[in-house]
């Protein structure tokens, strides 16, 4: 009954929806965007001066430790590799490799490479040769990773999308990327780094998108943006007409109603294709390559020889003095960003959040370095927490859930630690957007509970995997020991039968003893 339709059918439906009007989301909240820090149209984004010290956590996108490829005292140049997937974003000397606080909800330290920047830190940032075409190798070389959400390596994502495609759909012969989905929808209403990028140079954005079309060999390209970014849309439309490409694939500009959280890949694919992503299936597995607009531009710059050394960060929030979008070298501390932009929190009770007021988390230390995924630093007043009351089953949370879950039921199971049951109700699909928290009349911390339940489930699965390995090793050892025991017994038996079968055992024993006796 609920059989998944083939991707082509989904896309056809999405086209129909676009013709009849834009596809409306199932849930989400029409949050008002108070566009902070967006200067006049076409003004280039200011760049933060390179600080004296840069810090790089030795972690990959999944928070796994990576090995440092430099040692203390070594001089590095801009673009040199510090570890797998991490580049020096300025030239200087490695001062230390030590534990430092990082941007992570646990507020724990992690091993970091500390770089003292030379006076020549702001030299030419082109460290690679210019090439005529963009290649996956170049993406890896320039350390291009997602600038929108999880920070997955773009080269890896592209390869995954090219290799592992669409045997989920009924016609499994389909391979390759059929749709390139460029995500210009902001993660949160407060964040405006993507819009700032488009408004600073829309033509570059479209040129970059065409480069990515060529690289991904897709059949269709969708550029998704909220319909309230009027200036950006106008500039993009002009640029789409102006930039000609030989690929024969046009950039379709799809305007989505500004509903939070449309920027999340899962929700965006649902709104573009008209169908939700099946549980546990990534867009790449359906042949949809979803990339953030800033990532696409970074990839285009990599072709011209510029590695990814900086990103645009939105500094905003209701306690921010001068909200702005600013280009920051990766590795700059949050304190430096706030200080240089004149946004250092004045009131003691201000909270500095990484990643926006809704989906982010509070920072305990401001010395944490900006990473490729730090899209926003929000300065907010203290949380006015009203005590949670009992769930009255009003169903507001189910109405706003953008991925069609029943948060009240999930909460019921998760709070009772029945995470397995919560999983059956689709806990895995939760994108932790926080919409349910906003509408809950009983002020229940639903999202925190789901974050707990999801991480706890992951941990349980990991524990199970570890136990499976231990069991396998134990059983293998048992097999080996019993095999050895059997072998030993067999040899003993053979000897015994030999002895018994002997005609004159006493003479044989004497002969053996004589043979053993050493010649004196």
């Amino acid at each position: 009954m609920n059989r998944r339709k083939p991707v082509k059918a989904l896309l056809a439906r999405s086209r129909r929806l676009q013709q009849t009007g834009r596809s409306e989301p199932d849930g989400g909240l029409p949050l008002v965007r108070n566009k902070p820090g967006l200067e006049a149209v076409g003004v280039p984004i200011t760049e933060l001066p390179v600080p004296e010290q840069l810090v790089y956590p030795l972690l990959d996108y999944a928070r796994q430790t990576v090995q440092a490829q430099v040692h203390v005292g070594e001089s590095v140049l801009l673009g040199d590799s510090i570890a797998e997937g991490i580049l020096a974003t300025a030239s200087g000397t490695i001062k230390a490799i030590e534990h430092r606080p990082i941007i992570h909800p646990s507020h724990r330290d992690a091993l970091c490479v500390v770089l003292d920047v030379d006076a020549t830190g702001d030299e030419n940032t082109q460290s690679l040769a210019t090439s005529d075409t963009l290649s996956t190798e170049r993406l890896a070389q320039a350390c291009i990773s997602g600038l929108g959400g999880a920070g997955f390596g773009t080269a890896l994502k592209l390869r995954a999308a090219q290799n592992k495609v669409a045997n989920i759909s009924d016609n499994s012969s389909e391979t390759g990327i059929h749709t390139l989905l460029v995500n210009a929808v902001e993660c949160e209403p407060l964040i405006s780094c993507d819009e700032a990028l488009i408004r600073s140079d829309a033509q570059t954005v479209i040129t970059a998108v065409h480069t990515m079309i060529k690289l991904s060999v897709c059949q269709r390209c969708v550029l998704a943006i909220e319909d309230d970014k009027v200036d950006a849309i106008a500039m993009l439309s002009t640029a789409i007409d102006a930039v000609k490409s030989d690929t024969g694939v046009d950039v379709e500009l799809v305007k989505l109603s500004a509903v939070y959280p449309s920027g999340a890949e899962k929700v965006l694919v649902q709104r573009i294709t008209g169908k939700p992503l099946p549980t546990g299936v990534r867009a790449t597995e359906l042949g949809i390559l979803c990339l953030n607009v800033a990532t696409v531009v970074a990839a285009w710059r990599a072709q011209a020889g510029y590695p990814m050394i900086s990103r645009i960060v939105t500094v905003a929030g209701s306690r921010a003095n001068k909200p702005c979008n600013i280009r920051v070298r990766i590795g700059t501390s949050v304190a430096d960003v706030l200080q240089s932009t004149g946004n250092a929190p004045e009131a003691d009770d201000s909270r500095v959040r990484a990643g926006g007021p809704l989906s982010g988390f509070d920072l305990q230390s401001l010395s944490v370095p900006v990473t490729a995924t730090t899209n926003c630093i929000a300065i907010e007043p203290p949380q006015s927490k009203s005590a949670a009351m009992a769930c009255i089953r009003c169903s507001h949370c189910s109405e706003v859930c953008p991925v069609n879950l029943v948060p009240q039921q999930l909460y019921w199971y998760a709070s009772g630690n029945d995470i397995q049951q919560a999983q059956r109700f689709g806990l895995d699909n939760c994108i932790e957007c926080g919409c349910c928290d906003i509408v809950c009349p009983s002020s229940i911390e639903l999202t925190s509970m789901f974050r707990y339940a999801r991480s706890s489930w992951r941990e349980q699965q990991q524990d199970k995997q570890d136990a499976d390995i231990a069991r396998e090793r134990y059983e293998q050892r048992q097999r080996r020991l019993s095999h050895r025991e059997q072998e030993a017994r067999k040899i003993r038996e053979e000897k015994k039968t030999q002895l018994i079968s002997s005609k004159d055992p006493i003479a044989d024993a004497l002969a053996r003893a004589r043979a053993r006796k050493r010649p004196s």
């Binding site: 009954m1 972690l59 999944a62 992570h104 109700f425 925190s448 707990y452 941990e459 231990a470 090793r473």
Partner: protein
């Protein structure tokens, strides 16, 4: 009289038929979450081997022998053969007891404190300068997590170590230490809200 009876009978039958049709129609919409995999195991009265397997799958596989059996599978076998209660596994703790009670349909009981206390995950570490290379710990390790050769220094493969402590008693120079595992960042868990 007969007419009324027939009418009633026809009504009952038609209602039953309608009910049946409705139930069939509702079938595809029924959620799969009603199907509890554990319930199947209980009701199907599986042969013992399969039950042992089910119990063993839930045990923590530390192979620590704190339960008095020489490993997790022997303990699982003892539970199914009614030779051991379900509360003898300190690493599994109360969570395991609840799980086993649900699986086997028995009562939840407190952990047998004589067997030991539930500890946080730990890993054995050989103090390498002190190791004399006697190879006794290698023979004691139930999961082959120690590498080394006679008269050469040994070391523990931390990823494979279950923290069972079985290598401690055979060591003649007491050079094995147990360290509590500091959860790596990628395995960090959000705290449960109050």
């Amino acid at each position: 009289m007969t007419g009324t009876f027939i009418t009633i009978a026809v009504m009952i039958m038609s209602m039953a038929a309608v009910g049946y049709v409705l139930s069939r129609l509702a079938e595809p919409a029924r959620r799969t979450d009603d199907e509890d995999p554990d319930a199947d195991i209980m009701s199907a009265n599986l042969p013992d081997m399969q039950l042992i397997e089910e119990v063993n799958r839930r045990l923590p596989q530390t192979q620590c022998a704190q339960c008095g059996h020489p490993g997790c599978r022997p303990y699982a076998t003892a539970i199914i053969n009614d030779e051991a209660p379900i509360n003898q596994c300190p690493p599994g703790g109360d969570a395991l007891i609840e799980e086993l009670a649900a699986l086997l349909g028995t009562d939840v009981m407190p952990l047998d404190n004589d067997k030991g206390q539930t500890k946080s995950a730990q890993v054995a570490v050989i103090v390498e300068p002190d190791c004399i290379g006697c190879a006794l710990c290698i023979a004691a390790c139930p999961v082959d997590a120690i590498v080394g050769a006679p008269r050469y220094m040994h070391t523990v493969i931390a990823d494979q170590c279950t923290g069972c402590e079985l290598c401690l008693p055979p060591c003649p120079v007491d050079c094995i230490e147990l360290h509590t595992i500091n959860t790596p960042l990628q395995r960090w868990q959000w705290p449960k809200p109050a």
